[in-house]
């Protein structure tokens, strides 16, 4: 009868919800970064409360502009720091910085069944472990910090089943791009999304996070990946807390259901300037698409599996002389792992630039801004005009394997060509 979104919200309010209901939901966790938190602090200070509702449930995670590249960024960073100190919230200062959506589940700060409404649109990432995660704005964030609850309209749910047998090198990124290409960027507008089927069941957790992360790119509220033993194992390794891992009922009511046939599915690429502008990689090889920059990282693809895949493709290869390859680990733990396991050596040997953990080049303001007319292949989640730099630049979204292979040849390239 019920979808995961309905079960989660029903349990939270200790009642039964149906789509369309507006409920005030207790918030288990909320977080903000340098862009979204300072305006939330301004609003928070207008509320007649002395402190945040629960310091352990509020995380201040500078990741967009840290280390600060300019005066504006350091002003924002210091505002975040001052607030975190004053209210004794969780805080990850420079030196421990990580990308928030990589760090939060990695450290077990949230667990299945939680509701996490946070000031970043990619908070939907956490549906990969059964958390009702969703982005909100700064005023909502202020209210959540003050009251520990927020209003929410219970969403309908859209379900995707991934079946068939994709070709080698197809990852979670390719599956989610295929789904967005199918339904468009408003295909799940204001709805929760569920991802299931045998192809998703075979994915490692890191790739499930990638899928949930891009739910907002089809307009979705949050994106749950069907849970299994792998989900439990991931969570149990990171927390001792009790949790509720909800599966959808077999006869749950969905607003829409889609079956994505993955037989012979190739790596997928989102062409400029819209995420739903998806093509199979082979369609972009004649004429060739030359690239000036390749980016591997971000809340979409800055996890362990992504870094390992990149290393596998780059090993023994050299980045094309005309390409800048930027690799950004999603967390400090991963930065260390890269050093300890020799991935850093592989990246540097190939000619990549290794960057500090965080959001990286995604929005063109911390690092790797594109010049006029330049083209990037990026593992990030948005390719709207001007996002990574100049208005006339272009971004193609792809998997870490495709981004790494393209860095080697200087054009959009299938990983099997170089690895």
């Amino acid at each position: 009868m019920s979808t995961v979104a309905e079960k989660t919200l029903s349990q939270k309010i200790k009642g039964t919800v149906t789509p369309g209901d507006i409920v005030e939901v207790p918030i288990d966790f909320t977080s903000g970064h340098e862009f979204s938190l300072p305006p939330a602090i301004d609003e928070f200070e207008r509320i007649n409360v002395d402190t945040v509702f629960d310091p352990d449930s509020v995380a201040v995670i500078p990741d967009h502009l840290t280390p600060s590249p300019n005066q504006r960024a350091i002003t924002l960073y210091n505002r975040c720091k001052e607030f975190a100190m004053k209210h004794n919230t969780l805080f990850y200062p420079q030196g421990t910085q990580s990308q928030e959506h990589v760090h939060i589940p990695e450290e077990g700060l949230i667990t299945p069944g939680d509701v996490m409404l946070a000031a970043d649109s990619h908070s939907c990432t956490h549906g990969a472990i059964g958390v009702f995660g969703s982005g909100v704005g700064s005023t909502d964030m202020a209210y959540a910090m003050a009251f520990g609850e927020l209003w929410l309209q219970v969403p309908d749910t859209v379900r995707f089943e991934f079946v068939g047998d994709p070709e080698t090198w197809v990852s979670g990124k390719d599956l989610i791009l295929a789904a967005i290409g199918r339904v468009g960027i408003s295909g799940a507008l204001n709805k929760a999304v569920e991802y299931g089927g045998p192809v998703v069941g075979d994915l490692p957790m890191d790739e499930r996070f990638t899928m949930a992360n891009m739910t907002i790119e089809m307009g979705g509220v949050t994106g749950f990946v069907d849970p299994d033993r792998r989900t439990r194992k991931y969570v149990d390794r990171r927390t001792d807390a009790e949790y509720q891992l909800h599966s959808p009922d077999p006869d749950a009511d969905y607003a829409l259901t889609y079956t994505i046939d993955c037989d012979d599915l190739e790596p997928q690429v989102a062409k400029p300037h819209q995420v739903s502008n998806v093509a199979s990689l082979s369609e972009l090889q004649d004429p060739e698409v030359q690239v000036d920059q390749a980016v591997i990282g971000s809340c979409t693809n800055g996890r362990e599996a992504d870094l390992r895949t990149a290393a596998k493709v780059l090993s023994g290869n050299t980045v094309d002389a005309d390409v800048r390859l930027i690799i950004t680990p999603g967390s400090q733990r991963l930065e260390r792992l890269c050093i300890e396991e020799g991935l850093t050596e592989t990246f540097l040997e190939a000619g990549a630039t290794m960057e500090n953990p965080g959001c990286g080049a995604c929005f063109g303001m911390r690092t790797g801004a594109l010049g006029p007319g330049e083209v990037a292949v990026s593992t990030t989640n948005r390719n709207v005009r001007g996002r990574m730099g100049h208005r006339s630049s272009e971004v193609y979204l792809a998997s870490p394997a495709v981004a790494a292979a393209s860095a080697v040849t200087g054009r959009l390239t299938h990983p099997s060509e170089v690895a």
Partner: protein, 164 residues
């Protein structure tokens, strides 16, 4: 009387307010610059934006509705809104109205009258009025309070036993 400025489907937050727009001046000057860099010179106090499906998709940055409000937008009328943008607009007191096929019902430069309290949008140029679905009662309460922060402060007053 407001002048309608028309936009298509899927106008995202980076187009409405790029990441470089974050202060009073840049919020105004860069408003809608992703679609039309000279938008801020043409759009005046009290004018309205009319758009297609999924207006405000993308980032959660509240600078998107804020830039439109700072530039003087009286209301945004769209076929549909992205959820975060819709929340943000209500939270900061920028009226948003959903009218099906909005872009087919208005043309660039049309004279428009917005009756906020009754949710009636009149296209004076075509002579046709449209009624937008009313907000759920809970959202009306937030709007009536003057925004989410004021709503929260009222809640504290009630909890502490102060009369409103």
């Amino acid at each position: 009387m407001s002048t309608a400025f028309l936009f298509g489907d899927n106008i995202d937050t980076d187009l409405i307010a790029p990441t470089t727009a974050d202060e009073d001046k840049t919020l105004v000057e860069l408003c809608m610059s992703g679609v039309d860099p000279s938008f801020h010179e043409k759009f005046g106090e009290g004018d309205v934006v009319v758009a297609g499906e999924n207006f405000g998709c993308g980032s959660s940055r509240e600078t998107a509705p804020l830039s439109l409000r700072r530039l003087g937008a009286d209301a945004i009328i769209a076929s549909s809104f992205a959820r975060i943008f819709y929340r943000n607009a209500i939270n900061i007191g920028l009226p948003v109205f959903e009218i099906a096929d909005a872009t087919a019902k208005f043309s660039q430069g049309d004279d428009v009258v917005v009756d906020r309290s009754n949710g009636v949008i009149s296209n004076e140029s075509s002579g046709i009025s449209y009624s937008a679905p009313s907000h759920p009662a809970f959202l009306e309460e937030i709007i009536d309070a003057g925004g989410l922060i004021e709503y929260g402060n009222r809640k504290i007053d009630r909890r502490d036993g102060h009369s409103e």
